[in-house]
């Protein structure tokens, strides 16, 4: 599948923030290197990768629809809230769209800080808000060749986001 041009948003300020919404796959080692290489002030990088599961063999793929423009904008707003809240030294958020097969990664979040507590909290915060505020919608494609349902949102995701209020 040809990759659509990646959107990169580098928000001005002392914390480098990379936001990308793309069809193509990402490489965690490349993204970690972009964040951390050549720096000696970063003590901790926490990453999260969200994968497409096959739901017990039922799924052939997930298809992710998104709102181009708003997706990048909303993720950048979430990243900005995180870097106001924690002493971060770098943030990367990459979210894929299109058809994604079971076992493939969908989303990557990286949070860098001098100490681990801030990096862990920021990465979890970013994911909780990526889930509830970034304009992406998943629908199922089933192994029998049919198009399945739109995935229902979970109250537990909203509750996870509400913890940070």
């Amino acid at each position: 599948m040809p990759d659509a041009p990646a959107h990169v948003t580098d928000i001005a300020g002392e914390t480098p923030v990379i936001v990308r919404v793309q069809n193509g796959i990402f490489d965690i080692a490349d993204e970690t290197a972009k964040l951390a290489d050549g720096r000696a002030d970063i003590g901790a990088v926490v990453s999260f990768i969200g994968y497409c599961r096959d739901e017990g063999g039922r799924l052939a793929a997930l298809e992710l629809e998104h709102y181009p423009g708003m997706a990048e904008g909303e993720i950048a707003r979430i990243a900005n809230v995180a870097r106001e809240r924690w002493p971060l030294l770098g943030v990367t958020c990459i979210h894929r769209y299109g058809k994604i097969a079971p076992g493939e990664p969908i989303v990557l979040v990286l949070a860098a800080s001098s100490h681990r507590g801030a990096a862990f909290q920021a990465a979890e915060f970013l994911m909780d808000f990526m889930k509830t505020r970034a304009p992406f919608w998943k629908r199922e494609h089933l192994k029998d060749g049919t198009t399945g349902e739109w995935v229902e949102h979970k109250d537990t995701d909203q509750q996870a986001a509400d913890r940070w209020a």
Binding site: M130, A134, F136
Partner: protein, 83 residues
């Protein structure tokens, strides 16, 4: 005004985007949802549970009480399920 629909809202309405002239008495997001729901069965199905619908004005989340005046683009969609 430019209207955009995503996921099952888009499917039920049968279009991803359209330009509509709105009557002057449609002031808020909630009023726009009520007005759209009366257009035909597809819109009625899309907006059957208005509380579930999320809205964005010019690509930023807003609640249903927000006035739409001045927005170039209004979008309606189900709760997000990315990540």
């Amino acid at each position: 005004m430019r209207l955009r629909y995503f996921a099952w809202v888009r499917e039920r309405i049968g279009t991803a985007a359209e330009d509509l002239d709105l009557p002057a008495d449609v002031v808020t997001v909630a009023e726009l949802i009520r007005w759209l729901a009366r257009r035909d069965e597809g819109y009625a199905a899309a907006f059957a549970e208005p509380d579930v619908i999320r809205a964005a004005l010019d690509q930023e989340h807003v609640d249903h009480a927000t006035p739409i005046a001045g927005a170039r683009e209004v979008a309606f969609f189900p709760p997000m399920t990315g990540g």
